[in-house]
């Protein structure tokens, strides 16, 4: 292959990608890395929403959820048990999709636009010990937000069954 044909192939594929994105939103917001196309659905959140409004209130609504996700991310980044798994992560996307997912599951006015738990974790080789480490960081973040323990557990009860999709090793 000549240099020219490589160049042309490259330009064509860029053009193709751009036009594909124009036709179907990539669900990757500005400032996020591109991901392979997938079907957007709240079913990807992996749990049905909690309908009791008291739970969302205990999490201090969307603002509280955003603070909890920020606390969770800070905890993960400082936790030597799991930070390695996240070294290649797209933090802006992870933050956005986690807020969406938590908000959706907690019965907030949000849709989850991220990928399914099985598809996004399949290649990360997560263990049960790492799963629990993440749960502990989430508990710390919920504690910091002042969410009562019993309310935390109502949320964690929705996340616990995701163990089956997240843990692959």
């Amino acid at each position: 292959m000549s240099f020219n044909s490589i160049l042309i192939a490259g330009l064509t594929s860029i053009a193709f990608t751009v036009s594909a994105h124009a036709a179907q939103p990539p669900h990757a917001m500005p400032g996020e890395l591109e991901v392979d196309p997938y079907e957007v659905s709240n079913a990807n959140a992996g749990a049905e929403p909690i309908t009791d409004p008291a739970v969302l209130a205990a999490f201090n609504g969307e603002a509280g959820i955003a603070r909890i996700v920020d606390g969770l991310i800070a905890g993960i980044q400082a936790d030597e048990r799991i930070e390695g798994v996240f070294r290649a992560s797209d933090w802006p996307r992870l933050r956005r999709t986690l807020i969406e997912q938590f908000c959706y599951i907690l019965g907030g006015p949000c849709d989850y636009t991220g990928r399914s738990m099985a598809s996004v974790h399949v290649d990360h080789g997560v263990t049960t010990a790492e799963f629990n480490a993440l749960v502990e960081n989430l508990q710390d973040a919920m504690d910091a937000e002042g969410v009562p323990f019993a309310m935390q557990n109502r949320f964690l009860a929705r996340l616990a069954p995701m163990h089956g999709d997240v843990v692959t090793r």
């Binding site: 263990t127 049960t128 010990a129 323990f149 557990n153 616990a160 069954p161 163990h163």
Partner: protein, 292 residues
């Protein structure tokens, strides 16, 4: 070899095989369980509550590793002092093997019973448990509990005396099926256990007598106040095989606190009913469990 020895040996072999497979596959991994989810150690040495064996597997290990616990428990009753101490290992959060020595000091009651002041019964309990199916913690989208099958072989060091009071034997075995479920949405931990046993006062007064093995239920409930703190109650039905002294069901109210992932402290108020003709044996239970 009795059925019980075969079962314990079988579980031991299965554990060893499973360990050997791990050793080949990778280095041993330790730790990883969430606080309190390894349970505490029963007076018989198994992972559980304080008086009742549960389906939880002892040790901090997950399905990839090994873990272990050591415990020391003391119960100060109206007329007696009970102590137990032992070790247990958990393999892959699937198998559990335990060894425990129990001491039952009759104190002044020993003299009244004609045994002698401070006469002490001792008993060794070797236990094995296999988790059959279910996950108490993660299966929050189903009602299916974590279910385990366990065996305990017990031998008492006072054969002549337990026979003299009407027991048929100085050693015996229990087989139990335990179901444990965390209802996380309600911060509730529930356990139900069916025990096939002929042990008199867990075997401290020997085995059998008027009756042989019978099925006895054990029920526990705990409410989690935080990641480290759980309070609850247990009820253990007991057989009543001895003519000379009635045996009552056991009740306790407990509070367990995980200081960290290595140390759990449990305090309880227990009512063990009548023991060797001494009624109303209530008192204070304290147990320390260290684990990895």
């Amino acid at each position: 070899m009795t059925l019980i020895h075969t079962m314990i040996a079988g579980l031991g072999l299965a554990s060893a095989a499973s360990l050997a497979a791990t050793a080949q596959a990778q280095d041993f991994e330790t730790g990883g369980k969430l606080l309190l989810t390894r349970g505490i150690s029963t007076i018989e040495g198994s992972g559980g509550g304080g008086l009742s064996s549960w389906a939880l597997i002892t040790g901090n290990e997950t399905e990839r590793g090994i873990g272990g616990t050591a415990h020391a428990t003391q119960v100060e009753l109206e007329d007696f002092r009970f102590q137990s101490a032992g070790f247990a290992i958990g393999i892959h959060d699937r198998f559990e093997l335990s060894w425990t020595r129990q001491r039952f000091d009759t104190q002044d009651a020993g003299a009244a019973l004609g045994l002698g002041q401070g006469f002490t019964f001792e008993q060794d309990v070797i236990g094995a448990k296999i988790r059959l199916f279910g996950d108490a913690v993660y299966d929050q989208d189903s009602w299916v509990p974590q279910v385990a099958l366990g065996v305990q072989h017990k031998s008492n060091n006072q054969g002549a005396i337990v026979r003299a009071v009407g027991a048929a034997d100085d050693s015996g075995y229990d087989v139990y099926l335990a179901a444990t479920k965390l209802l996380l949405e309600h911060s509730l931990l529930l356990n139900a256990t069916l025990r096939w046993t002929e042990a008199n006062q867990t075997g401290l007064l020997g085995y059998g007598g008027l009756n042989d093995h019978s099925l006895q239920g054990e029920f526990s409930a705990g409410y989690m106040l935080s990641r480290r703190f759980i309070i609850g109650a247990e009820y253990r039905f007991k057989p009543d095989n001895l003519g000379f002294a009635g045996e009552d069901d056991w009740v306790d109210l407990f509070a367990a606190y995980a200081v960290n992932q290595h140390l759990t402290v449990t305090a309880a108020w227990v009512d063990l009913g009548s023991i060797a003709t001494f009624d109303d044996q209530r008192g204070f239970y304290l147990s320390l469990q260290a684990g990895f």
